[in-house]
Amino acid sequence: MKINLAYKSIGLSTKQFCGLLVFCLFAIAHNFIVNDKYLIGKTQTGFGLFVESEDAKYGIKAIIPYSANTVDKYNRKVGPFSKQKVSSLYYRHWLGTDSIGRDVLAGIINGSYIALLVGLFTVIISLILGIFFGFLSGYYGDTGVQLRKPTFVLWMILTLLCWFYSFYTFGFVAFIFFILPLLVLGFLVNNVSGISRGGFCFPFDTIIFRMIEIISSIPGLFLILIILTVLGKPSIWNVIIIIGLLRWPIVARHLRAEILKIKEEQFIDSAKSIGQTDVKIFLYHVLPMAASPLIIISAFGFATSILLESTLSFLGIGVPLGEVTWGSLIKEARFHFDAWWLALFPGLMIYGLIYLFNSIGDNINHKIRNI
């Protein structure tokens, strides 16, 4: 029986695929690998999931019996090879502890979860925004969409009103109010374009390209630092959203360049001539052809986002203090020169992951160039 290895068709080697799998496994199952509670414990009332040690009579414990935040006050700043005050080999700190007695291995595995969260969601946010804006600026350009002036004025008023309300409401409602004008614009564009009535040309290309230039005119790390401090409240989701918002210009720029090439092809004209709408042409004919550079950018973007996040938590900005990440573990090493394990192991994880994603990006790039 021949097994179809899908990952090989996009250029990943078996080693890379296994590395990716192990990383994802650790990240997703971090709560079951690293925990100071009983995974399944017998209490007085019956069996339960994640039972506190004091409440349970007996049960199944995780492989590493420490959470990332568990403080072992008898073993502060002990190395992997030094003598530890533990009751059995099972409770040993295999990679040592930090200055207040938190297990480094537990911190590393918790950090892999945060790294996956950051990498994945920044890539998703940057792809959604980048594809949307890249499509508008590449496919329509400066003259592709003609709106009649009254329509345009009405849309502007709607936009201002909606964004006003989105500023004074919270949560999901605010999001809906923010996104509504864009949806309406998409609807207008999809139905009105192609009819040249000598109306008002909506200069998508100019507007979006200026936006891209403004965002890329300030070095990313500085911009993120400033925005995070203005927001004030440290949270991992703020970091994710801001990194995602800063990375969409790269996607948009590459997609725009691809679209400009593909737009001249004949099959686009034929699709238009049978009355296919622009959005459908883009989704079914343009996007699949432009997908390969986007995949490469995403692979590199994953690495860059993780690097940015760990730099931020190394500086102690943006990520809440209680959250243990790879960067915050290395931060500890700066103040404890004798604790070599604090600097080495978390850094190896960051380096390994960045190396993994960079090499994946290179491999895909290589594969596509050779086709």
């Binding site: 004074y168 005119s217 300030i218 790390l221 500085f222 400033i226 900005i317 004798d338 080495l344 960079n358």
Partner: protein, 396 residues
């Protein structure tokens, strides 16, 4: 002394209000304001941050300003009465209002219960004239050197200028060193595909390319600046910059020259990896082109072809990347400054952000975007200079 151990003989509110007005925080934010119609124009004049947050929370819930003012005045009277009688339980209970998500449910604001909150806001628009915070800040750029740092009273531009000298001395040395070695090694790697050091070099470069700067720096500092791991690991001086009072910044940099070795080494190795990869790629691309073959078939030797024909063309794509490499060097030096305690821009930015010293932060941001834009312009001009196909004043 009151219950919290605060000296009550000074009226803190008065001092606070004075500074609040000195920083122009009581003025409206911008030339115009768009806000819901029941919001008051003068919301910024409430200088007590707790009270201002309370106002905004209640206004956002839709209560009219008159009702809120009544309720809060009543609440303040209660709080003052509790403070006067040193009733700790009451003070604690009343202070809880500030931390609530929906403060109208608290007993202290019971007066609000009679009034009905609006569920729908209409926007209102009005002009504020030139007497606003943004205009004052713009003025301060030209008259007052980006305003005054709230930490030490120096003008922001003076602080940034001092820090910039430190940062520039690192970044410029790093930039030229990495450019020099990068072009050299990149060309070597591209032209000696089967050379002895080819594989080792590319692997080391890939390693340096992937390694995070802050981790690399931390490792070097932890392992190679002390003799904790054996007498032979004490390679570099420890990471503190000596400040000599009374000397100019430039003299101080020279006096601390040996402390710069490690940060410059790390930064150079990092950007070297990037530039070498770039140069290698473009030299390889150029070698494939027919004119290179022609040059070889004329009988020119390898070094001459590379020097006279290939390198000129290969550097064109490199120059465009130089601009972003320079901006990246600034970002890279931020982390190194924090690790090595160098009083440069990065550390100034981080420390002034932690203390909400916005004048300095804005000054640095503006300067950085200026540096980036200027480096992009220089790259464009150089691009046209080395590539005669491009004209600067081309008509489109």
């Amino acid at each position: 002394m009151d219950l919290r151990g605060v000296d009550t003989s000074i009226d803190h509110d008065d001092v606070y209000e004075k500074i609040y007005k000195e920083l122009n925080l009581d003025l409206p934010n911008f030339y115009f304001t768009i806000q819901p119609s029941h919001f008051p124009k003068t919301i910024n004049q409430t200088f007590d941050t707790n009270k201002k947050d309370l106002y905004l929370k209640l206004l956002n819930s839709g209560y009219s300003f008159v009702d809120i003012e009544k309720a809060i005045n009543n609440f303040s009277q209660k709080l003052d009465a509790a403070k006067a009688s040193n009733n700790a339980a009451d003070i604690i209970e009343l202070n809880k209002v500030y931390n609530l998500e929906s403060p109208e449910q608290h007993n202290g604001l019971a007066h609000l219960n009679d009034s009905k909150p609006k569920s729908f806001f209409w926007p209102s628009f009005y002009l504020n004239g030139f007497n606003n915070q943004y205009h004052k800040w713009l003025q301060s750029i030209f008259t007052n050197g980006f305003g005054i740092s709230i930490l030490d009273g120096m003008t922001a531009i003076l602080k940034v200028k001092k820090a910039l000298t430190w940062t520039l001395s690192i970044t410029l040395i790093d930039f030229f060193l990495s450019l020099l070695f990068g072009i050299f090694i990149g060309t070597y790697l591209a032209t000696n595909e089967k050379g002895r050091w080819q594989k080792t070099f590319s692997q080391i470069l890939y390693f340096l390319y992937s390694i995070p700067v802050f981790w690399f720096a931390t490792m070097m500092v932890v392992y190679f600046t002390t003799d904790d791991y054996g007498w032979w690991t004490d390679w570099f001086p420890s990471v503190a910059i000596d400040i000599y009072p009374g000397k100019s910044t430039f003299q101080q940099i020279l006096m601390n020259a040996e402390k710069f070795i490690l940060p410059i080494l790390i930064l150079t190795l990092h950007s070297l990896a990037y530039i070498t990869r770039l140069v290698r790629r473009s030299v390889l691309d150029e070698l494939d082109k027919p004119y290179a073959l022609l040059a070889f078939s004329k009988g020119l030797d390898k070094t001459e072809v590379i020097r006279k024909h290939i390198l000129k063309n290969a550097l064109i794509p490199t120059i465009t990347s130089m601009a972003s490499a320079f901006a990246n060097a600034f970002a890279g030096s931020l982390v190194l400054e924090v690790i090595f305690n160098i009083p440069g821009m990065g550390r100034l930015l981080v420390s002034s952000m932690e203390s909400a010293d916005w004048n300095v932060v804005f000054c640095i941001t503006l300067l950085l975007s200026f540096v980036t834009i200027v480096s992009f312009i220089i790259a464009d001009i150089l691009y046209a200079y080395v590539n005669p196909k491009i004209e600067l004043n081309a008509k489109t």
